[in-house]
């Protein structure tokens, strides 16, 4: 038995096939979900991948958040279904209020693509147990709207509850408040981050590191051991 992990394709999703590949590399079974699907095909977890859903017109993630597939997703995420939002997926999760805060345009006003250093702040979420708390990893980052912002009170709460899952190290690439690269919900089943772990799962490809693979092995272990 392995875990079945859904990957949603919205119009304009770009990293859906890459994410499916990462899930396969980790040993799980990827399941393609279409944004018009009204059910989640009984998957054990879902990844909302990167891209420019609906061209990011209006606001990144703002239109995708109303796709039919989001209805069962919201319901089940609140009931504990593990959900990972990467980049545009993170933006969709904040638009859907599954995660707090929002993303503004990068403070330098340019798209940025780089090999980014991160610190894993919380190694206890559904998607991070294969990391050690405090571990530093390198994962590709590529976005236009990656500046994480929230009001001070929310930020303090996130810090106090250990819900800042990842922080940028050495260089803040987009002006995110408190160097926040990713956050989780209270229960730790929903995680969102701007960098792209699915682009760091094979030694030959991209930056040549596999620092992103533990996202997918973490969830696999959790699901298989459950």
């Amino acid at each position: 038995m392995t875990a079945r992990i859904g990957v949603v394709t919205f119009p304009g999703s770009l990293d859906d096939r890459d994410t499916q590949r990462a899930i396969r590399v980790a040993g799980a079974e990827p399941v393609a979900l279409w944004h018009k699907d009204k059910d989640l095909k009984q998957v054990d977890a879902v990844v909302l991948c990167g891209g420019f859903s609906y061209g990011d017109y209006l606001r990144a993630g703002a239109i995708a958040r109303f796709s039919p597939v989001m209805e069962p997703l919201l319901e089940q995420a609140k009931a504990g279904l593990p959900v990972l939002g990467i980049c545009n997926g993170f933006q969709i999760l904040t638009e859907a209020h599954l995660l707090p805060g929002t993303m503004l345009r990068n403070n330098h006003l340019h798209f940025i693509c780089r090999d980014q250093k991160l610190r894993v702040e919380n190694a206890e979420t559904a998607w991070t147990t294969d990391y050690a708390a405090g571990q530093e990893i390198h994962i590709p980052l590529k976005n236009n709207d990656g500046q994480y912002v929230a009001d001070e009170r929310t930020l303090d709460e996130l810090e106090a509850e250990g819900r800042v899952a990842f922080r940028y190290v050495d260089f803040n690439p987009n002006g995110s408040q408190r160097d926040i690269a990713g956050v989780s919900n209270e229960a730790g089943n929903v995680v969102g981050l701007m960098p792209h772990p699915e682009h760091a799962v094979e030694p030959l490809i991209g930056t040549g590191r596999t620092d992103g693979l533990p996202f997918f092995t973490s969830i696999l272990k959790k699901l298989v051991n459950a």
Binding site: P11, G12, L14, R21, G55, F111, I112, K142, H199, I205
Partner: protein, 752 residues
Amino acid sequence: MSRTPLDTVEHAAATPDVELPWAELGLKKDEYERVVEILGRRPTGAELAMYSVMWSEHCSYKSSKVHLRQFGEKAPESDAMLVGIGENAGVVDVGQGYAVTFKVESHNHPSYVEPYQGAATGVGGIVRDIIAMGARPVAVVDPLRFGAADHPDTKRVLPGVVAGIGGYGNCLGLPNIGGEVVFDACYQGNPLVNAGAIGVMRHEDIHLAKASGAGNKVILYGARTGGDGIGGASILASETFDDAKPSKRPAVQVGDPFQEKLLIECTLEAFREKLVVGIQDLGAAGLSCATSELASNGSGGMRVTLDDVPLRDSTLSPEEILMSESQERMCAVVEPEKVDRFLEICDKWDVIATVIGEVTDGDRLEIYWHGGKIVDVDPRTVAHEGPVYERPYARPSWQDELQADDANKLPRPETSEELKDQVLKLVGSPNQASKSWITSQYDHFVQGNTVLAQPEDSGMIRIDEETDLGVAIATDGNGRYAKLDPYHGAQLALAEAYRNVATTGARPLAVSDCLNFGSPEDPAVMWQFAEAVRGLADACQQLGTPVTGGNVSLYNQTGEAAIHPTPVVAVLGVIDDVARRTPVAFQEEGQLLYLLGDTREEFGGSAWSQVVHDHLGGLPPQVDLERERLLAEILISASRDGMIDSAHDLSDGGLIQAVVESALLGGKGARLIVPDGLDAFTFLFSESAGRAVVAVPRSEEVRFNDMCGARGLPVTRIGVVDGDTVDVQGEFALPLSELRETHEGTIPALLK
């Protein structure tokens, strides 16, 4: 409805004396007369619109055709060629049942007028050419040329172009893996924005632009047609800029990358279900081009009802609909029983699709509007039988003087200190500096198959996850060399791209080119063009790499001043196992550095002569294509057999530029020893072609030397990977930190 009668074919025949605005549409008098002769009457307004755009320089290649024939006539025998020149893009066999299509095109003029949209739609256009062949696009590359780096207008053009390429390409999900950025005052009013794309498919999936089978439906799908880009091909791309004329901004198209992404997915899904008989993208000349090319390449004629074209602006006239260059549109020919399924797929992707006509068993292209026949032409006369000019050409009077102004006689550094200063000046000059400020605005990682991306010598993409088969692409084109000698300059462009592909371990297979020149009406420019084409065709023949397609961009000049002749050459290569690729970065301390090839005193057109003396004169480096071939074979073998851990080709900036780049990328320094028989200056700055620097693990030293010796390639040990300085023994040592600051600081400082 307008009050004037519709200009139907009947009406045109009955009113022979009506004056038509052929000159405003860019046609010459004799060209208009030729149209009248073909039709046996005056053209209708709609016909005139079609002929004017399709016979424009941009679409008809009327000035370049007679020269471009050489690419076919001199094409080397190649088993790899599956589809050659003339289709949307060429296709080559890369083994294991895979075919790769690739092409480079220009979007120069629009990018000067409106940098963001001009560059964005350049990417959009080349990508649609790739889809139209049946392939999934897998990567893009962008060779760019701008005016002087410190000119105020460069600050307007460059950031816009870069944001446009990124904004469009990133949103399509195509990794940007290569290209170049060059600054030179000659491109001040005429920046070059070339865009290349690669696509991958199985052999059986190759599609062609032809409409066959009477009764088959012609489906227009994608964006609605608007008033943007009208006359883009005929007015923008086929004339020089002139301050006296009104702004041409409305002739630039506006891109919607989200729509294009949907178009890609929906087209590929239709291909997978074998629903498509023929396909053509709508680029330059829009529907005029798509209908006339589809019809003339097929077996029958075509009938189109223009009223069925979905419009963004309901006031458009039929002429405007035919000329519109609205982006993100494609035209497919589909069998009647498959139309429903095709439309269903379009609906799934929220893409508007409309049957606008059908293939007929006649041989005419007929277009109807409000019930009247407004076009009735032989489509071949529109698409293929445009005018062909034998433009006069002559070696310019200044060429001898330019070549006599020998760069080898320029004052050279006299002390070690001066040598060191010039090295710093070189690696920090805009052309030699790191371009990461630009390339970091492009997504390199999407699709998860990028093995190498800029600043590597070539971009490399894995195309099969099981076998690790990959393809590599490099683009090069040194306008300074081509100005000094267009024939050899074009060959050097090919040689460099060929070498760059081989340096990463891939075997060069085929060529695409984008030939950027001034006005063909100037005999000196035409001579440059003729020489460059002849040089490139001869070199392709000798290296066994056929030209599969490409693009010509003329009229890149402002007033009397033409750009440097700039033939940009893209070479595509294949690598059986991407795990064997060779990167630029130094990998391990202690590895031995070898210089492959011969170093001569060659400074004509060099980066050193530009940076230190602001000089352009003399002759470019010698071309030795047999040597290039041998060097490539050695680099490929060494990569395959694990004899080298890093490699970098030597080109502009010479050896020191290459070593500094490898050192900075690897974070490891180098100790260099000037070889016997060379002075330090020549060793560091010469731009002799046919050379590369490789790092060899000590365990491989004997084997590597034996291989070079046995095959007769000169090889010189020049040092070792070591420390945190670039140390030229007996001359100077520069800390990596200082080199990094110099090399990486220039571009951000200029563009902030």
